[in-house]
């Protein structure tokens, strides 16, 4: 393989990884933008989403097969279910804590995270579960570089979801209300906006996107595990911070940058791929030293 091929191949890998990070980072950033909560349970929502997708695929495959039709239907239903789970968690765990000190709600988020992954751990006996899909390995060849149709579909689906989100946030009244409550909640109340339902809507959208990423990750990697949310939670948080937490385009950009850094990190001369995370986080630290608000962000995260 030539250097150019390697670059192209890593670009593709980085884009896929980055899509997952971006989808999860969006929920992180949106929730931080409106209630200043670092929702550490968000990675576990992604994990739960993946398992819900797995169960639904199991139920649907007798009718729809193990191909894209089943995946699409399972994904849409699981996005709705997991979106509702996000709203439920917000209602029972976060709403009662909104007027408590910020540290308390952060600890609550950690507790929610533990509840979710311990629940899934006990249900699955901590084992890897195979994702019941069968998509084959066909794809397109560009010289020495091979891209599967699965990769192409996953990246395009992410792009589609982000386009829909962009339209929703910028063009619909509810989307505008979401942006407005991150600016001034009391002013929103005076406009007749029910702030609590808009916050719930934000949790719904963020959780549904994380769920989509979880299902896609299951499809892509082929097996899932109760602990898969932990690392991606950290990575997505990092991505949100790189892009500027609270900023929606920032979350997308940060996720893609992190994904690309990681995949190019595997090609680092002399040190090998096990250092890719060190490389990616090293870049993050450097970025935050010089631009503490992230690439597109306006607000700095408060030090806890």
């Amino acid at each position: 393989m030539s250097t150019l091929d390697i670059i192209f191949q890593q670009l593709v890998n980085g884009l896929i990884l980055g899509s997952f990070y971006s989808l999860v980072a969006l929920g992180y950033s949106m929730v931080y933008g409106i209630i200043k909560l670092l929702n550490f349970a968000h990675g576990d929502i992604y994990m739960v989403g993946s398992f819900v997708g797995l169960i639904l695929l199991g139920l649907l495959s007798p009718f729809l097969g193990a191909g894209w039709a089943g995946i699409l239907v399972a994904m849409i239903i699981s996005m709705i279910l997991v979106g509702l789970l996000g709203v439920f968690i917000q209602r029972i765990a976060y709403v009662p804590m909104l007027s408590a000190p910020r540290l308390s709600i952060l600890i609550t988020a950690l507790a929610v995270s533990m509840v979710l992954y311990n629940f899934v751990m006990s249900m699955t006996s901590g084992e890897y579960k195979a994702f019941p899909v069968d998509l084959g390995y066909e794809g397109l060849e560009f010289g020495h570089v091979f891209i599967t149709y699965t990769q192409i579909i996953l990246v395009s689906s992410t792009a589609l979801l982000m386009t829909v989100l962009h339209f929703f946030i910028n063009k619909t009244m509810l989307g505008k209300a979401m942006r407005a409550i991150s600016i001034d909640q009391d002013a929103c109340r005076l406009m007749g906006i029910n702030v609590n339902s808009i916050i719930a809507l934000t949790f719904f959208v963020g959780s549904a996107l994380a769920c989509a990423a979880g299902v896609m990750a299951g499809v892509y990697y082929g097996s899932i595990h109760f602990f898969m949310g932990f690392l991606i939670g950290l990575k997505a948080f990092t991505a949100a911070v790189i892009g500027g937490i609270g900023s929606i385009p920032g979350a997308v950009l940060g996720g893609l940058i992190l994904g690309l850094l990681e995949s190019f990190g595997t090609q680092l001369p002399f040190i090998g791929s096990e250092w890719k995370d060190v490389f990616a986080f090293g870049i993050l630290i450097l970025l935050l030293l010089f631009k503490p608000t992230g690439l597109l962000g306006k607000t700095e995260i408060e030090r806890m």
Partner: protein, 238 residues
């Protein structure tokens, strides 16, 4: 005699242990401009926050159009036809002027009506129309006040609460804002106006209440207050 649309009786409010309102009673009649006068910290803004529901009062009665709105959520109160333009404008900086106005019409379902209202606001404040796609954070203080008022006019409200619309504005802008207040009133909107600039407020108002440390100490027709010795000494002295 026109009907009373807002009636407040013995209103009390606290911020923690601070007893900010100690039995405020007042009335606003349909079609009037009523002003609340008083020094900084007297409780004028707190009264407004209680009316619009931003702050839950601790005692008393608030009736709007004959119906109690005590303890009702602010977003529900807006739907009844009452809107509060808060102190400090509180526009959505980072969003465009047009988006700010659209949010003002959040409770409106009808798109055609929204368009009509927006044109009406742009007619009232042409400078907003010229810059409709600009970030509202770039507006000057006076323009931000116009936007805050415009945003409140995006739904046909019966009562508008204006909290210190002239704060921090140059005198010619204050005159401009007051002219609009008068115009809105002539179009049939009832107004409850808080002002530190008592002279200006009494110029436009029909009736006035004087608030001191959370209680009404005096009230009368604006014409009479204007020539009252105590008012002149306390609020109108140069």
């Amino acid at each position: 005699m026109s009907e009373v649309i807002l009636k407040i009786t013995d209103l009390n409010a606290h911020y923690g242990h601070i007893h900010a309102l100690r039995g405020i009673s007042l009335e606003v009649k349909a079609g009037q401009i009523v002003t609340l006068l008083g020094a900084n910290g007297a409780g004028k803004s707190t009264t407004m926050k209680c009316i619009s529901g931003l702050l839950k009062p601790t005692g008393g009665k608030i009736e709007f159009l004959g119906e109690s709105i005590f303890g009702v959520s602010p977003h529900e109160i807006v739907k009844k036809g009452l809107i509060h333009v808060p102190e400090g404008r509180r526009i959505f900086k980072g969003m465009t002027i047009q988006e700010n106005l659209e949010l003002g019409s959040f409770t409106l379902k009808d798109d055609a009506e929204r368009k009509r209202r927006m044109e009406y606001v742009y007619e009232l404040f042409p400078v907003l129309g010229e810059r409709r796609h600009r970030d509202s954070g770039m507006l000057s203080g006076g323009e931000q006040q116009m936007l805050a008022m415009g945003r409140a006019l995006m739904v046909g409200q019966k009562l508008v609460l204006l909290d210190e619309p002239s704060m921090g504005l140059a005198p010619f802008l204050v005159k401009n804002i007051m002219k609009v207040v008068k115009q809105l009133n002539q179009e049939g909107i009832t107004i409850l106006l808080v002002e530190q600039n008592a002279k200006m407020a009494l110029e436009v108002a029909d009736y006035g209440y004087v608030v001191e440390t959370g209680a009404i100490v005096m009230h009368d027709a604006a014409q009479i207050l204007k020539s009252d010795e105590r008012i002149i000494n306390a609020y109108l002295g140069e």
